[in-house]
């Protein structure tokens, strides 16, 4: 066999950055559609893919991290999916089709899927206080938060997106006190009309969440460590007043994790801009999940699509198109904020399979 023939039959190298729902769905489909290909998942987590929707259960009796894994380790062996854990991507060289890792290792690809999702958004005015916040985006962060929270302690939530409100339900069920400082991001990603918002806030109070009108206080200006004898954190409002809590958690929605793509030549606004086939402006780079902004003919705008169903569907569409398909993403996610039988809020974004 000569060299060119060898190259022509070389297995395609699919690289996926991100180890969440979209990335793993894509990896599975890539293996199905191209049995000979190389599939590599790169993640900065030390854990294999785990179900973040289950993290609130950490508060209902200790569970080992094994219980959160979506797939057993053998799954990756059997599927021949290579997972590079604890690896931070620092750049993508689209000209040479290489992903650059922080330890200077290049990972070459024929097609790349960016499925890094988002991190909890922190408004720039609170960045200096970031070391005083607790987060809930990862297993490690959730463990640290649980450790910091005393029994029946107080959690001050800033913003209150649907990820935070999901956690709030669990915290209330274990008799913690939840204080919510409202913000325009409360209920994110739901878009509520003013009347709907007032009803939804009333429903939160009915659930047992204590509300502080953040706008009326001029917003949060800073967070300080609590003084001796007082709870661990103090939240200070711009127009005076404060509130204390054992932990303070920002829930202002998500910011797409795209920093490593800056300078790669692919189009970015807030997220990676993709068409409905989830292809970016680079024909060899795709994006799926909370990291991408998809062009919507209906809205004449780029928009994000959140929720488990959407993210999973995006992973599938991307994998199909990376292997020569011509699928288009269309949302099937219900986006209306509802109520349960007790009059408590119930969000379709809380649903997962």
């Amino acid at each position: 066999m000569n060299a060119s023939a060898s190259l022509a039959t070389a297995p395609r190298r699919y690289v996926i950055i991100g180890n969440g729902v979209a990335g793993n769905q894509a990896a599975e489909l890539l293996r199905e559609r191209d049995p000979e290909c190389q599939v590599t998942i790169i993640t900065n987590s030390r854990l294999l893919f785990y179900n973040r929707y289950l993290l609130p259960q950490l508060f209902k009796g200790h569970q080992s991290w094994h219980a959160f894994l979506a797939n057993p380790p053998e799954y990756y062996v059997n599927k021949r999916i290579k997972v590079l854990r604890d690896c931070r991507v620092v750049g993508v060289d689209t000209r040479n089709k290489q992903v650059k890792l922080a330890h200077n290792e290049p990972v070459s690809y024929d097609a790349l899927l960016v499925a890094t999702g988002g991190r909890g958004h922190l408004p720039e005015e609170l960045v200096e206080c970031r070391h005083l916040f607790h987060h809930f985006g990862t297993y490690e962060a959730a463990l640290a938060m649980r450790k910091a929270l005393p029994e029946k302690g107080t959690v001050v939530m800033l913003g209150g997106d649907m990820i935070g409100l999901d956690l709030a339900r669990t915290l209330l069920s274990i008799e913690c006190r939840v204080v919510l400082v409202t913000h325009e991001s409360t209920f994110w990603p739901h878009q509520l009309a003013p009347g709907e918002r007032a009803d939804a806030l009333a429903a939160l109070e009915k659930m047992g969440i204590e509300l502080i009108d953040g706008d009326a206080r001029g917003g949060v200006t800073s967070v300080e460590a609590g003084a001796p004898g007082l709870p661990g954190r103090r939240v200070i409002f711009r127009q005076g007043g404060d509130v204390y809590g054992d932990v303070v958690m920002p829930f202002y929605g998500l910011t797409p994790l795209v920093e490593f793509m800056v300078g790669s030549g692919t189009d970015i606004e807030r997220g990676l801009l993709v068409n409905t086939g989830l292809r970016t402006s680079d024909p060899h780079v795709y994006a799926a999940g909370d990291v991408c902004q998809i062009w919507s003919e209906q809205d004449h705008a780029y928009r994000f699509y959140y929720g488990y169903k959407n993210v999973r569907a995006m992973g599938a569409v991307a994998a199909i198109n990376m292997t020569g398909g011509h699928e288009h993403f269309a949302t099937t996610q219900e986006e209306t904020l509802g109520r349960d039988g007790q009059g408590h809020i119930d969000s379709p974004f809380w649903a997962y399979e």
Partner: protein, 603 residues
């Protein structure tokens, strides 16, 4: 011997100041090519600032010397240390993929100015008087930089400035919370006190009572136009003729530069509760931050493209957002919405897609038909750029297609004796670009006036031992301390606090000192490989050939693993972190270190 305007009679060896060897001056293009290729920060600086040298001086605690090194290339170091657009940091090798964040070059420049001794003695390298007189029109950064250089070169310089005070865009276009005026006053004073006459409140133009350019040409040996770009670029809107002055069309609409100039002339400016700023440059960010301080509750910057493609520093962008200003991308304003009284109630935008690239490297945006939407606002500030005006000229001067005046290779316009520099030639740019260009033109004026020619050679100074330690690689970039948000309501309170001694020292240690050239003398090398064994990176290479280009730079290294083919053992400066491990381990001392930089010499 260092810096521009150094006066050496000829190229050749001379004793260095410590008597530890000899400094060589080279006009070999390969040495010049090495400097251009291997000191990316200095190459990227329009003024050619010797960045590694001043950072090294800061690391040693020699802040006054660091200030002087800066001042040789840029006469306003304290000013530029605050407001520079930092092209050096974009080029810094420490910011290359895998190397971390670029060195805080600009912050260090400021620290040199802040920390120099209060009784610091400024060094000026004055030439003898020439008896030639030069008029400079405009006392902005370009005019002041050119006037300073021309006065150093022995010419009598008079600056004509329309405003009451010098500084141009620095004084009238940049808010005080970014650039304190006392500092600006001091550095302008230092620039002009060599004998430059400053005539403020003098309008040069064709109108009644104005001083005419033709009069200046007859009274002076040369005239330099450095009037900048002070006219706004108009925003085309649906239903309005092109070039409509929107600030006249609606009282709630202002142009960014006019808004800032009015403010700094002392006018009492006001904004509505909801302020929309259209534009993507430093002026747009400044307008938004000023609007916030003037009481704007909801201030939003609207971009045609997205944050990734706007020409501002990430620090400015961050501070802008921190102050509660929102940034929204992919939209172009297409119409104003007004109420029955003509007051602004909103702006209609069209959604954009990202398009191709402009010639200047900026990103294009393409509007999407049928995607119009309205954003409510009470004040609109348009800051989409500035342009030059030529209507003050009382003679015909050749201009290019963009409307900017054309200059020849010698810096002269189509009118004999009339030169032009800075933004007035190249269009709206940055302070450092204006200063860099003005210095080049000042040099050309000098050549034209007295026939004095200068050329750049490379100074190669032996360095006894490595100056950097591998541990310096692990120092993170030191962030600029700022005042707390609640204290940011005053227009005059400077936001950035400057590095303290410790921060400056730590940040200075991060510099790779790219001006240090490590070379292996192959004639003495015994090919023991010890240097390769200790190298922390793949920085020492066995090379069988390399292309040397016409400009003296080199192409990719052709490596080999076969000893018989090795033509050179090459220290790859793209990889070298100047840790000195190779130097220390070499058993036959065949590795040398020299400090390389350009100096300008007469003749």
């Amino acid at each position: 011997m260092r810096g521009d305007h150094a006066s050496t009679e000829k190229t050749g060896p001379s004793p260095d100041k410590n008597g530890q060897g000899t400094i060589h001056y080279s006009d070999d293009p390969r040495d010049a090519g090495w400097v251009r290729q291997n000191i990316p920060c200095q190459t990227a600086c329009p003024a050619g600032t010797n960045v590694p040298a001043y950072i090294r001086a800061i690391a040693d605690g020699r802040h006054g010397e660091a200030y002087e090194i800066n001042r040789e290339a840029n006469v306003l170091p304290g000013v530029l240390g605050r407001i520079c657009s930092r092209p050096c940091e974009s080029a810094c090798r420490h910011g290359w993929a895998g190397n971390g964040d670029p060195v805080g070059i600009c912050n260090l420049k400021r620290s040199a100015a802040d920390m120099k001794d209060a009784r610091h003695r400024i060094t000026e390298r004055l030439y003898a008087p020439t008896g030639k007189r030069v008029a400079v029109v405009g006392a902005g950064p370009a005019g002041v930089a050119a006037a300073y250089d021309l006065s150093l070169l022995g010419h009598d310089v008079v600056i004509f400035e329309r405003e009451e005070k010098p500084g141009g865009m620095l004084r009238y276009g940049i808010p005080e919370f970014r650039l304190p005026r006392p500092l600006l006053e001091i550095e302008l004073h230092n620039a002009l006190r060599l004998g430059v006459q400053l005539r403020t409140g003098v309008t040069v133009g064709a109108g009644k009572g104005a001083t005419r350019v033709s009069t200046l040409l007859s009274d002076f040996d040369a005239v330099l136009l450095a009037t900048g770009c002070m006219a706004p670029v108009h925003l085309p809107l649906r239903g309005l003729p092109d070039g409509t002055d929107l600030s006249q069309h609606c009282q709630d609409v202002e142009y960014g530069l006019g808004f800032l100039v009015d403010l700094h002339r002392g006018q009492n400016k006001r904004v509505g509760r909801r302020v929309a700023v259209v534009g993507a440059g430093f002026t747009a960010l400044d307008c938004a931050r000023v609007a916030k301080r003037l009481g704007g509750q909801e201030v939003t910057i609207h971009l045609r493209t997205s944050e990734e493609y706007i020409p501002v520093t990430s620090e400015e962008l961050f501070e802008t957002k921190r102050e509660g200003i929102r940034i929204k991308g992919l939209r172009t304003p297409v119409a104003l919405r007004t109420d029955e009284n003509g007051r602004l109630i909103g702006v209609e935008f069209v959604q954009n897609r990202l398009g191709g690239w402009r010639d200047n490297g900026r990103r294009l945006a393409a509007p999407i038909e049928g995607s119009e939407f309205v954003e409510e606002c009470d004040t609109l500030i348009i800051a989409i750029g500035q342009r030059t005006v030529n209507d003050f000229l009382d003679m015909r001067v050749e201009v290019g297609r963009s409307g900017n005046v054309r200059i020849a290779e010698n810096g002269m316009t189509s009118v004999h004796g009339l030169f032009a520099a800075g933004d007035y030639v190249g269009g709206a740019s940055t302070a450092i670009e204006a200063i860099g260009h003005a210095r080049q033109i000042a040099d050309k004026i000098d050549t034209w006036l007295v026939g004095r020619k200068r050329r750049r050679v490379v100074s190669m100074e032996p360095v006894a031992a490595p100056l950097r330690q591998p541990a310096h690689d692990f120092i993170p970039r030191q962030h600029m301390p700022t005042i707390p948000l609640p204290e940011r309501h005053q227009l005059t309170r400077e936001v950035e606090c400057g590095y303290n001694q410790n921060l400056a020292s730590e940040e200075a240690k991060r510099c790779y000192l790219c001006d240090l050239r490590y070379q292996i003398n192959v004639d003495r090398c015994i090919y023991c490989r010890a240097c390769i064994e200790v190298a922390p990176r793949n920085c020492i290479k066995l090379v069988h050939s390399v292309e040397i280009r016409e400009d003296g730079t080199h192409g990719p290294l052709q490596e080999t693993k076969e000893w018989q083919k090795v033509a050179a053992i090459w220290i790859d400066n793209n990889e070298c972190i100047r840790c000195g491990a190779c130097f220390k381990v070499c058993p036959v001392a065949c590795i040398s270190i020299t400090r390389n930089h350009f100096v300008t010499v007469d003749g």
